[in-house]
Protein backbone atom coordinates (compact mmCIF):
# COMPACT_ATOMS: atom_id res chain seq x y z
CA UNK A 1 0.00 0.00 0.00
CA UNK A 2 1.45 3.29 -1.10
CA UNK A 3 1.38 6.13 1.39
CA UNK A 4 2.24 8.57 -1.37
CA UNK A 5 -0.42 10.91 -2.70
CA UNK A 6 -1.40 11.30 -6.34
CA UNK A 7 -0.18 14.65 -7.63
CA UNK A 8 1.70 15.67 -4.45
CA UNK A 9 4.84 16.40 -6.47
CA UNK A 10 5.52 17.59 -10.00
CA UNK A 11 8.31 17.70 -12.53
CA UNK A 12 9.24 21.35 -13.05
CA UNK A 13 12.41 21.00 -15.11
CA UNK A 14 13.64 18.48 -17.67
CA UNK A 15 16.63 18.48 -20.00
CA UNK A 16 19.02 16.29 -21.93
CA UNK A 17 22.75 16.82 -21.82
CA UNK A 18 24.60 16.89 -25.12
CA UNK A 19 23.83 13.58 -26.86
CA UNK A 20 25.60 11.46 -29.44
CA UNK A 21 29.39 11.44 -29.48
CA UNK A 22 30.92 13.83 -26.96
CA UNK A 23 34.38 15.38 -27.10
CA UNK A 24 37.32 13.22 -25.97
CA UNK A 25 37.80 13.03 -22.19
CA UNK A 26 34.27 14.24 -21.38
CA UNK A 27 33.23 12.52 -18.15
CA UNK A 28 29.81 11.09 -17.24
CA UNK A 29 29.66 13.66 -14.42
CA UNK A 30 30.29 16.49 -16.93
CA UNK A 31 27.14 15.34 -18.71
CA UNK A 32 25.11 15.01 -15.48
CA UNK A 33 26.12 18.51 -14.40
CA UNK A 34 25.38 20.03 -17.80
CA UNK A 35 21.92 18.42 -17.85
CA UNK A 36 21.26 19.46 -14.23
CA UNK A 37 21.90 23.14 -14.97
CA UNK A 38 19.80 22.95 -18.14
CA UNK A 39 16.93 21.34 -16.20
CA UNK A 40 17.18 23.99 -13.45
CA UNK A 41 17.13 26.71 -16.08
CA UNK A 42 14.06 25.06 -17.63
CA UNK A 43 12.41 25.29 -14.19
CA UNK A 44 13.56 28.80 -13.41
CA UNK A 45 15.51 27.54 -10.40
CA UNK A 46 19.13 28.03 -9.30
CA UNK A 47 21.70 25.52 -8.17
CA UNK A 48 21.34 26.90 -4.64
CA UNK A 49 17.68 25.79 -4.64
CA UNK A 50 18.65 22.11 -4.97
CA UNK A 51 18.52 20.23 -1.67
CA UNK A 52 18.54 16.60 -2.82
CA UNK A 53 20.27 14.45 -5.43
CA UNK A 54 19.25 11.14 -6.99
CA UNK A 55 21.97 9.71 -9.23
CA UNK A 56 22.70 6.41 -10.98
CA UNK A 57 25.39 5.63 -13.56
CA UNK A 58 27.42 2.57 -14.49
CA UNK A 59 30.67 4.52 -14.81
CA UNK A 60 30.37 6.37 -11.48
CA UNK A 61 30.08 3.98 -8.55
CA UNK A 62 29.00 6.56 -6.00
CA UNK A 63 26.89 8.92 -8.08
CA UNK A 64 25.36 11.25 -5.48
CA UNK A 65 28.82 11.96 -4.02
CA UNK A 66 30.35 12.64 -7.42
CA UNK A 67 27.65 15.05 -8.55
CA UNK A 68 27.48 16.82 -5.17
CA UNK A 69 31.25 17.38 -5.28
CA UNK A 70 31.21 18.56 -8.89
CA UNK A 71 28.45 21.08 -8.21
CA UNK A 72 29.74 21.91 -4.71
CA UNK A 73 26.37 21.45 -3.13
CA UNK A 74 25.52 19.76 0.16
CA UNK A 75 22.29 17.83 -0.35
CA UNK A 76 20.04 17.23 2.65
CA UNK A 77 18.90 14.01 1.04
CA UNK A 78 20.50 11.70 -1.55
CA UNK A 79 19.85 8.33 -3.17
CA UNK A 80 22.08 6.20 -5.41
CA UNK A 81 19.68 3.34 -6.10
CA UNK A 82 20.92 1.50 -9.19
CA UNK A 83 18.71 -1.15 -10.76
CA UNK A 84 19.62 -0.55 -14.40
CA UNK A 85 17.72 1.61 -16.85
CA UNK A 86 14.66 1.92 -14.61
CA UNK A 87 16.70 3.42 -11.74
CA UNK A 88 15.42 6.92 -12.44
CA UNK A 89 11.74 5.94 -12.30
CA UNK A 90 12.42 4.44 -8.88
CA UNK A 91 14.14 7.72 -7.97
CA UNK A 92 10.86 9.54 -8.73
CA UNK A 93 9.07 7.31 -6.21
CA UNK A 94 11.81 7.88 -3.65
CA UNK A 95 11.92 11.63 -4.28
CA UNK A 96 8.17 11.87 -3.84
CA UNK A 97 8.35 9.97 -0.55
CA UNK A 98 11.22 12.17 0.66
CA UNK A 99 9.46 15.41 -0.32
CA UNK A 100 6.20 14.29 1.32
CA UNK A 101 8.14 13.38 4.47
CA UNK A 102 9.73 16.83 4.55
CA UNK A 103 13.27 15.50 4.06
CA UNK A 104 13.82 17.76 1.05
CA UNK A 105 11.95 20.04 -1.34
CA UNK A 106 13.83 20.39 -4.64
CA UNK A 107 15.10 17.08 -6.01
CA UNK A 108 17.40 16.61 -8.99
CA UNK A 109 17.50 13.19 -10.68
CA UNK A 110 20.54 12.94 -12.97
CA UNK A 111 22.38 10.55 -15.28
CA UNK A 112 25.39 10.60 -17.60
CA UNK A 113 27.27 8.11 -19.77
CA UNK A 114 30.10 8.16 -22.29
CA UNK A 115 29.60 4.59 -23.49
CA UNK A 116 30.03 5.42 -27.19
CA UNK A 117 33.34 7.14 -26.45
CA UNK A 118 34.79 4.51 -24.13
CA UNK A 119 32.90 1.38 -25.48
CA UNK A 120 29.96 -0.46 -24.00
CA UNK A 121 32.22 -3.09 -22.42
CA UNK A 122 34.25 -0.42 -20.63
CA UNK A 123 31.20 1.59 -19.56
CA UNK A 124 29.26 -1.39 -18.18
CA UNK A 125 31.64 -4.17 -17.07
CA UNK A 126 29.78 -7.40 -16.28
CA UNK A 127 30.13 -9.58 -13.22
CA UNK A 128 31.33 -13.17 -13.72
CA UNK A 129 28.58 -15.68 -12.96
CA UNK A 130 29.59 -19.34 -13.24
CA UNK A 131 25.99 -20.35 -13.99
CA UNK A 132 25.87 -18.14 -17.13
CA UNK A 133 29.24 -16.70 -18.17
CA UNK A 134 30.81 -19.95 -19.49
CA UNK A 135 28.09 -20.15 -22.15
CA UNK A 136 29.14 -16.77 -23.55
CA UNK A 137 25.81 -15.03 -23.97
CA UNK A 138 26.27 -11.43 -25.19
CA UNK A 139 24.61 -9.71 -22.27
CA UNK A 140 22.20 -8.11 -22.08
CA UNK A 141 21.31 -8.79 -25.76
CA UNK A 142 21.11 -12.60 -25.58
CA UNK A 143 18.85 -12.48 -22.52
CA UNK A 144 16.30 -10.38 -24.40
CA UNK A 145 16.75 -12.63 -27.46
CA UNK A 146 15.78 -15.62 -25.30
CA UNK A 147 12.62 -13.75 -24.23
CA UNK A 148 11.83 -12.89 -27.85
CA UNK A 149 12.35 -16.50 -29.00
CA UNK A 150 10.01 -17.74 -26.28
CA UNK A 151 7.36 -15.12 -27.18
CA UNK A 152 7.61 -16.16 -30.85
CA UNK A 153 7.22 -19.84 -29.92
CA UNK A 154 4.33 -19.33 -27.54
CA UNK A 155 2.28 -16.66 -29.33
CA UNK A 156 3.27 -16.73 -33.00
CA UNK A 157 5.07 -13.39 -32.82
CA UNK A 158 7.31 -12.98 -35.89
CA UNK A 159 10.58 -11.25 -36.68
CA UNK A 160 8.52 -8.92 -38.88
CA UNK A 161 6.47 -7.90 -35.82
CA UNK A 162 9.67 -7.08 -33.96
CA UNK A 163 10.97 -5.16 -36.97
CA UNK A 164 7.76 -3.06 -36.94
CA UNK A 165 8.79 -1.78 -33.49
CA UNK A 166 12.12 -0.55 -34.88
CA UNK A 167 10.52 0.95 -38.00
CA UNK A 168 7.90 2.79 -35.92
CA UNK A 169 10.63 4.18 -33.66
CA UNK A 170 12.57 5.37 -36.71
CA UNK A 171 9.52 7.19 -38.12
CA UNK A 172 9.17 9.12 -34.88
CA UNK A 173 12.93 9.80 -34.73
CA UNK A 174 12.76 11.52 -38.10
CA UNK A 175 10.42 14.07 -36.43
CA UNK A 176 12.83 14.66 -33.52
CA UNK A 177 15.77 16.98 -34.25
CA UNK A 178 17.68 15.53 -31.26
CA UNK A 179 17.54 11.96 -32.60
CA UNK A 180 20.77 10.16 -33.50
CA UNK A 181 19.31 8.37 -36.55
CA UNK A 182 18.43 10.59 -39.52
CA UNK A 183 17.58 8.11 -42.31
CA UNK A 184 14.39 6.08 -42.92
CA UNK A 185 14.36 2.37 -42.04
CA UNK A 186 12.34 -0.48 -43.60
CA UNK A 187 11.23 -3.84 -42.20
CA UNK A 188 13.43 -5.55 -44.77
CA UNK A 189 16.47 -3.53 -43.66
CA UNK A 190 15.89 -4.62 -40.07
CA UNK A 191 15.58 -8.30 -41.05
CA UNK A 192 18.66 -8.24 -43.31
CA UNK A 193 20.91 -6.33 -40.94
CA UNK A 194 23.83 -8.08 -39.22
CA UNK A 195 22.60 -10.89 -36.95
CA UNK A 196 23.71 -10.40 -33.32
CA UNK A 197 21.77 -12.89 -31.20
CA UNK A 198 18.96 -14.65 -33.03
CA UNK A 199 16.21 -13.46 -33.53
CA UNK A 200 17.82 -10.01 -33.14
CA UNK A 201 19.79 -8.21 -35.80
CA UNK A 202 21.68 -5.06 -34.88
CA UNK A 203 18.53 -3.08 -35.83
CA UNK A 204 16.54 -4.88 -33.13
CA UNK A 205 19.02 -3.49 -30.61
CA UNK A 206 19.24 -0.05 -29.05
CA UNK A 207 21.83 2.54 -30.02
CA UNK A 208 25.14 2.87 -28.21
CA UNK A 209 25.67 6.60 -27.75
CA UNK A 210 26.92 9.09 -25.17
CA UNK A 211 24.46 11.21 -23.24
CA UNK A 212 22.65 12.06 -20.07
CA UNK A 213 19.79 14.00 -18.63
CA UNK A 214 18.23 15.50 -15.55
CA UNK A 215 14.80 16.28 -14.18
CA UNK A 216 13.80 18.50 -11.27
CA UNK A 217 10.96 17.50 -8.95
CA UNK A 218 9.36 19.58 -6.23
CA UNK A 219 6.19 19.80 -4.17
CA UNK A 220 2.96 20.64 -5.99
CA UNK A 221 2.71 23.87 -3.98
CA UNK A 222 6.14 25.11 -5.05
CA UNK A 223 5.70 23.81 -8.60
CA UNK A 224 2.82 26.23 -9.15
CA UNK A 225 5.15 29.21 -8.52
CA UNK A 226 7.72 28.23 -11.18
CA UNK A 227 8.34 29.00 -14.85
CA UNK A 228 6.80 26.03 -16.66
CA UNK A 229 3.44 24.30 -16.34
CA UNK A 230 4.00 21.54 -13.76
CA UNK A 231 3.80 17.93 -14.90
CA UNK A 232 2.32 16.03 -11.99
CA UNK A 233 3.33 12.58 -10.80
CA UNK A 234 -0.06 10.87 -10.75
CA UNK A 235 1.17 7.40 -9.92
CA UNK A 236 4.26 5.21 -9.74
CA UNK A 237 5.03 1.55 -9.25
CA UNK A 238 8.30 -0.39 -8.87
CA UNK A 239 8.83 -4.14 -9.12
CA UNK A 240 11.79 -6.55 -9.22
CA UNK A 241 11.47 -10.14 -10.44
CA UNK A 242 15.01 -11.55 -10.85
CA UNK A 243 18.61 -10.55 -11.58
CA UNK A 244 19.72 -13.14 -14.18
CA UNK A 245 17.66 -14.33 -17.15
CA UNK A 246 18.02 -17.97 -16.00
CA UNK A 247 15.94 -17.01 -12.98
CA UNK A 248 13.09 -15.12 -14.70
CA UNK A 249 10.02 -17.20 -13.87
CA UNK A 250 8.24 -16.79 -17.26
CA UNK A 251 10.14 -15.08 -20.09
CA UNK A 252 6.90 -13.79 -21.61
CA UNK A 253 5.55 -12.01 -18.50
CA UNK A 254 7.46 -9.10 -16.95
CA UNK A 255 7.13 -7.38 -13.60
CA UNK A 256 5.63 -4.43 -15.54
CA UNK A 257 2.30 -6.15 -14.88
CA UNK A 258 2.94 -5.47 -11.18
CA UNK A 259 4.54 -2.01 -11.45
CA UNK A 260 1.82 -0.89 -13.88
CA UNK A 261 -0.98 -2.10 -11.62
CA UNK A 262 0.54 -0.17 -8.69
CA UNK A 263 0.86 2.99 -10.78
CA UNK A 264 -2.70 2.77 -12.18
CA UNK A 265 -4.09 2.23 -8.69
CA UNK A 266 -2.29 5.24 -7.26
CA UNK A 267 -3.21 7.42 -10.26
CA UNK A 268 -6.81 6.21 -10.30
CA UNK A 269 -6.73 5.75 -14.06
CA UNK A 270 -6.94 2.92 -16.58
CA UNK A 271 -4.98 2.27 -19.79
CA UNK A 272 -7.69 3.86 -21.95
CA UNK A 273 -7.05 7.20 -20.18
CA UNK A 274 -3.41 7.24 -21.38
CA UNK A 275 -2.60 9.30 -24.51
CA UNK A 276 1.03 8.36 -25.11
CA UNK A 277 3.46 5.62 -24.09
CA UNK A 278 7.17 6.12 -23.49
CA UNK A 279 8.39 2.52 -23.13
CA UNK A 280 11.98 1.48 -22.54
CA UNK A 281 12.95 -0.06 -25.89
CA UNK A 282 16.36 -1.56 -25.27
CA UNK A 283 15.38 -4.22 -27.80
CA UNK A 284 12.37 -4.60 -30.09
CA UNK A 285 10.83 -7.25 -27.79
CA UNK A 286 10.53 -4.89 -24.80
CA UNK A 287 7.72 -2.61 -26.08
CA UNK A 288 5.90 -5.80 -27.20
CA UNK A 289 6.01 -7.16 -23.64
CA UNK A 290 5.16 -3.80 -22.05
CA UNK A 291 2.03 -3.04 -24.11
CA UNK A 292 0.77 -6.44 -22.93
CA UNK A 293 1.85 -6.15 -19.29
CA UNK A 294 0.64 -2.54 -18.97
CA UNK A 295 -2.80 -3.55 -20.24
CA UNK A 296 -2.92 -2.16 -23.78
CA UNK A 297 -3.60 -5.57 -25.37
CA UNK A 298 -4.06 -9.17 -24.21
CA UNK A 299 -0.99 -11.30 -23.40
CA UNK A 300 0.46 -12.66 -26.61
CA UNK A 301 -0.97 -9.93 -28.86
CA UNK A 302 1.94 -7.51 -28.37
CA UNK A 303 3.61 -8.33 -31.68
CA UNK A 304 0.42 -7.81 -33.65
CA UNK A 305 -0.19 -4.55 -31.72
CA UNK A 306 2.63 -2.91 -33.71
CA UNK A 307 1.55 -4.22 -37.15
CA UNK A 308 1.05 -1.77 -39.98
CA UNK A 309 2.69 1.17 -38.23
CA UNK A 310 -0.18 1.32 -35.70
CA UNK A 311 1.95 3.11 -33.08
CA UNK A 312 3.93 5.24 -35.57
CA UNK A 313 3.04 8.84 -36.57
CA UNK A 314 -0.54 8.86 -37.87
CA UNK A 315 -1.12 5.28 -36.66
CA UNK A 316 -4.45 3.81 -35.53
CA UNK A 317 -3.33 2.99 -31.97
CA UNK A 318 -1.70 4.89 -29.09
CA UNK A 319 1.58 6.63 -30.07
CA UNK A 320 4.61 4.77 -28.66
CA UNK A 321 8.10 6.24 -28.18
CA UNK A 322 7.60 9.54 -29.97
CA UNK A 323 11.22 10.56 -29.34
CA UNK A 324 12.39 7.69 -31.54
CA UNK A 325 13.24 5.67 -28.44
CA UNK A 326 16.41 3.88 -27.48
CA UNK A 327 16.30 2.27 -30.91
CA UNK A 328 16.62 5.49 -32.94
CA UNK A 329 16.83 8.59 -30.71
CA UNK A 330 19.36 7.97 -27.96
CA UNK A 331 20.50 5.13 -25.74
CA UNK A 332 23.41 5.98 -23.46
CA UNK A 333 23.24 2.71 -21.47
CA UNK A 334 20.65 3.42 -18.78
CA UNK A 335 18.07 5.19 -20.86
CA UNK A 336 15.21 5.52 -18.33
CA UNK A 337 15.72 9.20 -17.56
CA UNK A 338 15.31 10.07 -21.23
CA UNK A 339 12.19 7.84 -21.38
CA UNK A 340 10.67 10.15 -18.75
CA UNK A 341 11.85 13.38 -20.39
CA UNK A 342 9.90 12.57 -23.58
CA UNK A 343 6.70 11.78 -21.62
CA UNK A 344 7.10 15.03 -19.62
CA UNK A 345 7.55 17.08 -22.81
CA UNK A 346 4.49 15.45 -24.39
CA UNK A 347 2.35 16.39 -21.37
CA UNK A 348 3.73 19.95 -21.57
CA UNK A 349 2.95 20.09 -25.29
CA UNK A 350 6.55 20.92 -26.25
CA UNK A 351 7.12 18.24 -28.88
CA UNK A 352 6.67 20.20 -32.10
CA UNK A 353 6.10 18.01 -35.15
CA UNK A 354 5.83 14.86 -33.05
CA UNK A 355 3.43 16.33 -30.48
CA UNK A 356 0.56 14.00 -29.54
CA UNK A 357 -2.77 15.88 -29.56
CA UNK A 358 -4.34 16.60 -26.16
CA UNK A 359 -1.66 14.60 -24.36
CA UNK A 360 -2.79 15.12 -20.77
CA UNK A 361 -1.69 11.69 -19.45
CA UNK A 362 1.49 9.83 -20.45
CA UNK A 363 3.23 6.73 -19.13
CA UNK A 364 7.00 6.48 -18.82
CA UNK A 365 7.94 2.86 -18.25
CA UNK A 366 11.48 1.85 -17.30
CA UNK A 367 13.19 -1.51 -17.61
CA UNK A 368 16.47 -2.52 -16.02
CA UNK A 369 18.91 -5.42 -16.07
CA UNK A 370 17.60 -8.33 -18.17
CA UNK A 371 13.86 -7.58 -17.86
CA UNK A 372 14.68 -7.59 -14.14
CA UNK A 373 13.44 -4.30 -12.71
CA UNK A 374 10.25 -2.66 -13.96
CA UNK A 375 9.25 0.82 -12.85
CA UNK A 376 6.25 2.78 -14.12
CA UNK A 377 5.54 6.51 -13.75
CA UNK A 378 2.27 8.11 -14.86
CA UNK A 379 2.53 11.83 -15.59
CA UNK A 380 -0.44 14.16 -15.93
CA UNK A 381 -1.23 17.80 -16.66
CA UNK A 382 -2.89 20.12 -14.15
CA UNK A 383 -6.28 19.30 -15.72
CA UNK A 384 -5.93 15.65 -14.66
CA UNK A 385 -5.54 16.43 -10.94
Amino acid sequence: MSGRKRGSVAVVGAAESDLGLVAPHTSPVDLMAQATLRALDDAGLKLSDVDSLFVAATQVRMGPMALAEYLRIKPKYFDGTIIGGSSFMSHVTHAQAAIEAGLCEVAVIAYGSTQRSVSRAAASPREYNHYESPYKPILPISAYALAAARHMHQFGTTREHLAEVAVSARKWALLNPAAWEKEPLSIEQVLKARMVSYPFTVRDCCLVVDGGGAIVITSAARAKTLKKKPVYVLGTGDSLSHATISNMPDLTVTAAADSGAQAYKMAGIKPSDVKMLSLYDAFTITPVLFVEDLGFCPKGEGGRFFEGGATAPGGSRIPVNTSGGGLSYCHPGMYGLLVMIEAIRQVRGECGKRQVKDCDVAIAHGNGGVLSSQCTVIFGSEATL
Partner: protein, 130 residues
Protein backbone atom coordinates in the same frame (compact mmCIF):
# COMPACT_ATOMS: atom_id res chain seq x y z
CA UNK B 1 25.72 -25.31 4.11
CA UNK B 2 26.32 -24.79 7.83
CA UNK B 3 29.72 -23.13 7.47
CA UNK B 4 31.00 -21.08 4.57
CA UNK B 5 34.44 -21.36 6.17
CA UNK B 6 34.48 -25.07 5.17
CA UNK B 7 32.75 -25.24 1.81
CA UNK B 8 30.83 -23.05 -0.65
CA UNK B 9 27.77 -23.80 -2.80
CA UNK B 10 29.74 -23.28 -6.03
CA UNK B 11 32.65 -25.31 -4.65
CA UNK B 12 30.44 -28.35 -4.02
CA UNK B 13 28.74 -27.92 -7.42
CA UNK B 14 32.09 -27.86 -9.22
CA UNK B 15 33.28 -30.99 -7.36
CA UNK B 16 30.19 -32.79 -8.71
CA UNK B 17 30.96 -31.48 -12.23
CA UNK B 18 34.47 -32.94 -11.95
CA UNK B 19 32.81 -36.33 -11.36
CA UNK B 20 30.63 -35.84 -14.45
CA UNK B 21 27.53 -34.96 -12.42
CA UNK B 22 24.98 -32.14 -12.60
CA UNK B 23 24.19 -31.37 -8.97
CA UNK B 24 21.36 -29.33 -7.52
CA UNK B 25 19.78 -28.86 -4.12
CA UNK B 26 16.38 -29.62 -2.64
CA UNK B 27 14.97 -27.65 0.27
CA UNK B 28 13.58 -30.44 2.42
CA UNK B 29 11.26 -28.02 4.26
CA UNK B 30 9.08 -27.47 1.17
CA UNK B 31 10.50 -30.17 -1.14
CA UNK B 32 11.42 -27.60 -3.82
CA UNK B 33 14.36 -27.92 -6.21
CA UNK B 34 16.90 -25.11 -5.76
CA UNK B 35 19.24 -23.94 -8.52
CA UNK B 36 21.71 -22.20 -8.60
CA UNK B 37 23.12 -23.73 -5.40
CA UNK B 38 22.81 -21.53 -2.34
CA UNK B 39 23.98 -21.27 1.27
CA UNK B 40 20.38 -20.93 2.48
CA UNK B 41 17.13 -21.85 0.77
CA UNK B 42 15.13 -19.17 -1.05
CA UNK B 43 11.66 -18.31 0.31
CA UNK B 44 11.85 -20.65 3.34
CA UNK B 45 15.20 -19.33 4.55
CA UNK B 46 15.90 -22.87 5.67
CA UNK B 47 19.33 -24.41 6.13
CA UNK B 48 17.88 -27.80 5.20
CA UNK B 49 19.32 -27.95 1.71
CA UNK B 50 20.11 -31.42 0.48
CA UNK B 51 22.42 -32.03 -2.48
CA UNK B 52 21.08 -34.32 -5.24
CA UNK B 53 22.46 -35.46 -8.58
CA UNK B 54 20.20 -34.90 -11.58
CA UNK B 55 19.43 -37.66 -14.07
CA UNK B 56 20.60 -35.06 -16.58
CA UNK B 57 17.54 -34.92 -18.83
CA UNK B 58 15.76 -31.72 -19.75
CA UNK B 59 13.75 -29.76 -22.29
CA UNK B 60 14.80 -26.59 -24.12
CA UNK B 61 12.73 -23.65 -22.72
CA UNK B 62 14.25 -21.00 -24.99
CA UNK B 63 17.20 -20.67 -27.34
CA UNK B 64 19.30 -18.06 -29.13
CA UNK B 65 22.23 -18.16 -31.53
CA UNK B 66 25.02 -15.79 -30.62
CA UNK B 67 27.14 -14.18 -33.36
CA UNK B 68 30.01 -13.05 -31.19
CA UNK B 69 32.65 -12.17 -33.77
CA UNK B 70 33.29 -12.51 -37.50
CA UNK B 71 36.13 -14.99 -37.01
CA UNK B 72 34.13 -17.28 -34.71
CA UNK B 73 31.28 -19.60 -35.69
CA UNK B 74 27.89 -18.71 -34.13
CA UNK B 75 27.14 -20.60 -30.92
CA UNK B 76 24.02 -21.68 -29.08
CA UNK B 77 22.85 -20.36 -25.71
CA UNK B 78 19.75 -22.00 -24.26
CA UNK B 79 17.66 -22.15 -21.13
CA UNK B 80 16.99 -25.76 -20.16
CA UNK B 81 14.15 -26.95 -17.91
CA UNK B 82 15.64 -29.93 -16.06
CA UNK B 83 13.25 -32.78 -15.29
CA UNK B 84 13.81 -32.51 -11.52
CA UNK B 85 12.18 -29.06 -11.57
CA UNK B 86 14.77 -26.35 -12.08
CA UNK B 87 15.95 -24.20 -14.98
CA UNK B 88 19.51 -23.40 -16.01
CA UNK B 89 21.41 -21.62 -18.75
CA UNK B 90 23.56 -23.87 -20.94
CA UNK B 91 24.18 -24.68 -24.58
CA UNK B 92 23.14 -27.55 -26.82
CA UNK B 93 26.09 -29.01 -28.70
CA UNK B 94 26.44 -31.51 -31.53
CA UNK B 95 23.94 -29.87 -33.89
CA UNK B 96 23.73 -26.65 -35.90
CA UNK B 97 22.85 -23.97 -33.32
CA UNK B 98 19.89 -22.82 -35.46
CA UNK B 99 18.46 -26.36 -35.23
CA UNK B 100 18.14 -26.17 -31.45
CA UNK B 101 14.38 -25.84 -30.93
CA UNK B 102 12.16 -24.98 -27.99
CA UNK B 103 10.66 -28.20 -26.64
CA UNK B 104 13.63 -30.33 -27.74
CA UNK B 105 14.70 -33.05 -25.28
CA UNK B 106 18.37 -32.85 -24.25
CA UNK B 107 20.85 -34.74 -22.08
CA UNK B 108 23.69 -33.35 -19.98
CA UNK B 109 27.40 -33.91 -20.38
CA UNK B 110 30.08 -32.10 -18.44
CA UNK B 111 32.64 -29.93 -20.16
CA UNK B 112 35.69 -30.35 -17.92
CA UNK B 113 37.07 -26.88 -18.69
CA UNK B 114 40.78 -26.17 -18.40
CA UNK B 115 43.24 -24.22 -16.28
CA UNK B 116 41.31 -21.00 -16.80
CA UNK B 117 37.76 -22.37 -16.85
CA UNK B 118 35.99 -24.31 -14.11
CA UNK B 119 33.99 -27.31 -15.41
CA UNK B 120 30.43 -26.65 -16.51
CA UNK B 121 27.48 -28.67 -17.89
CA UNK B 122 26.44 -28.59 -21.55
CA UNK B 123 23.75 -30.59 -23.33
CA UNK B 124 23.31 -32.71 -26.46
CA UNK B 125 20.10 -33.70 -28.24
CA UNK B 126 18.31 -36.69 -26.67
CA UNK B 127 15.42 -37.32 -29.04
CA UNK B 128 13.25 -40.15 -27.84
CA UNK B 129 14.11 -39.58 -24.16
CA UNK B 130 10.81 -39.26 -22.31
Amino acid sequence: MQSLLKESPLGVYVEHCKKGELAYQVCTDDNTAVFYPRAVAPKTGSHNLEWRVSKGLGTVYSTTVVHAAKDQPPHNVALIDIDEGFRMMSRVEGIDPMQVKIGMRVKVKINQGDEKQLPYPVFTPAEGAK
